[in-house]
Symmetry: C2
Subunit: 323 residues, 2 copies
């Protein structure tokens, strides 16, 4: 089983065919960054068009079993998720509605303070809010996974503690390997993984030691090190692949509608756009490189199989519906 637990590409038949060529059985795709409910539904409608247009390449997955069916049919299963709670607006009832429509991951905050939790770019992190506690309970009830990839540390640790089911950091790396605002301290990762939660390793260059020049060896040694620290069974891949997106998209990710200024996020004024991908991972056809690199780094066949998809599959099976 090969699963990538985070992509936000500029979707096209070309990319769907690359998923098939790369043997990718399932992809968790972001369908909302700053969209409200109605806008998120429009994005779902766009995905429905793609499912109808490319039935031999992709299909939607609501459960882990749907991935088995997709794999048997030679398709890549698509799982919806949000990088921000904006799709539920201020309405907890939308958690169940959006779960019914297929949403299986939702970040409680994206860089900034949200109604639910604090983002990793805020100066202060007061932790999970009143509504945040209610929404975590509702997500636990219906089976939507709490994702804290872009959240601040205290909020993340509190979310892991409050949630009665395992949570996830779908796309980030250990800060001990590369000290970036979006990477996570061992304490934060431990709070998530020690409760059965998952960490998905990102290949987005701002999250990599050496950025675009990061070597495959360094990336895979980092993963082997994390397997020793946090348990290989709690690790997976979440590439954060933003293939074929124009630079206007990374600006929109960063500024949405919350500011009239430019916010460079992980970038800088002189390096504002999408950074070049590392040579060993440009698109969905390159997962073999990571697979082989993990073997070279000394991980067992079983651990590599888990990290390349088996662990996400098990996590989905446990967490994509009522407990």
């Amino acid at each position: 089983m090969r699963i990538d637990n985070l992509q936000y590409a500029n979707w096209s038949e070309k990319i769907f065919r690359q998923m098939r060529a790369g043997g990718v059985d399932a992809v968790h795709v972001t369908i909302a960054y700053h969209e409200n409910f109605r806008e998120t539904v429009l994005n779902i409608e766009q995905w429905n068009r793609w499912f109808e247009a490319y039935p031999d390449l992709i299909c939607q997955a609501f459960t882990a079993a749907d991935i088995d069916a997709a794999k048997a049919a030679g398709r890549t299963a698509i799982i919806f998720g949000f990088q921000n709670p904006s799709p539920i607006e201020d309405d907890i009832g939308l958690v169940e509605v959006l779960h019914r429509l297929g949403a299986r991951f939702m970040q409680l905050s994206y860089n900034n303070q949200s109604l639910l939790a604090t983002g990793c770019y805020e100066a202060e992190d007061p932790g999970v809010t009143r509504m945040g506690r209610e929404v975590i309970a509702e997500m636990n009830r219906v089976g939507m996974v709490v994702d804290m990839s872009h959240s601040a540390d205290r909020s993340t640790i509190e979310a892991a503690e409050i949630s009665t089911r395992p949570i996830a950091i779908t796309h980030a790396n250990p800060a001990s390997w590369h000290a970036a605002r979006r990477n996570k301290s061992d304490e934060v990762i431990h709070a998530v993984t020690s409760r059965g939660g998952m960490l998905g390793f990102s290949v987005y260059p701002h999250h990599l030691a050496g950025k675009s020049d990061c070597t495959l060896d360094s990336f895979c040694e980092m993963i082997a090190d994390a397997a020793g620290k946090f348990g290989a069974e709690n690790l997976g891949i979440g590439t954060d692949l933003c293939q074929d997106q124009p630079d206007s998209i990374v600006e929109w990710m960063r500024v949405g509608r919350w500011t009239k200024q430019i916010d460079y996020g992980e970038g800088t004024a002189s390096d504002a756009g999408f950074p070049p991908m590392p040579s060993w991972f440009n698109d969905n056809r390159d997962f073999d490189n990571i697979h082989n690199g993990l073997r070279v780094a000394g991980l067992s066949d079983a651990d590599v199989a888990g990290i390349m998809g088996g662990n996400w599959y098990r996590f989905y099976a446990d967490n994509f519906g009522p407990a």
Copy 2:
């Protein structure tokens, strides 16, 4: 199997318990009259609250098989429908989205002209519109039933012809029995039933010969007559029960937001509210009266079983998903 294919009650635990007491296995409930998409989702959220609050009494059904499961568990299955296409606004993509959320019937028009078809109170009926043809095809694709209960004759006949799958008149009676604006000519009923479509008999007094004074015998003889004309297998019940609703609701059904005047619809200035129900049908506990009355009217056990629910069940099994 006992199924009522149209109710719009002022829902409460009392009514849900009456459904159980009346042995009602499934009810198609109206969740939108004039609501737009977001308002319809709010109504779905309210139903989700009821499903969570009364899990021993009701559950949502998406398929005929869900009704079997509900029946086995001693619950009444609830099926969502719209009396107007307002929930899809001007967006054909919302057909699939709302189908995913459980909508299984949608009227193409409610009394007035809609984007899709003409309602039965318009002076002119130009037939199914350009968007109407597209939406019928989309409803056919996903398995959402075209309902023409409040539509005008030409639009209804055209919808039956255009649709590649059977359509329904969920709640109306033959005009040959009681000449009311909302009742249907034999030609219209034949256009629907001759193509495998369904007619659901209403007990809403404005649709009854003698209105609130209509006798059970007269109602059941009318059904027996319709069985002879249109085939018993194409007939079912759609009571249009609006139990416990205040008169403000029938006014809202009629005027929505489309006029600032009062429109009395089937009522009159001196009789503007909900009329009293006939003595033999006040709530969900009274289906035995209809069942027994149909036997007295001379229908066979098999025909009575079909009309009381078996026919709707078969129709659901054939039409609630992709063909």
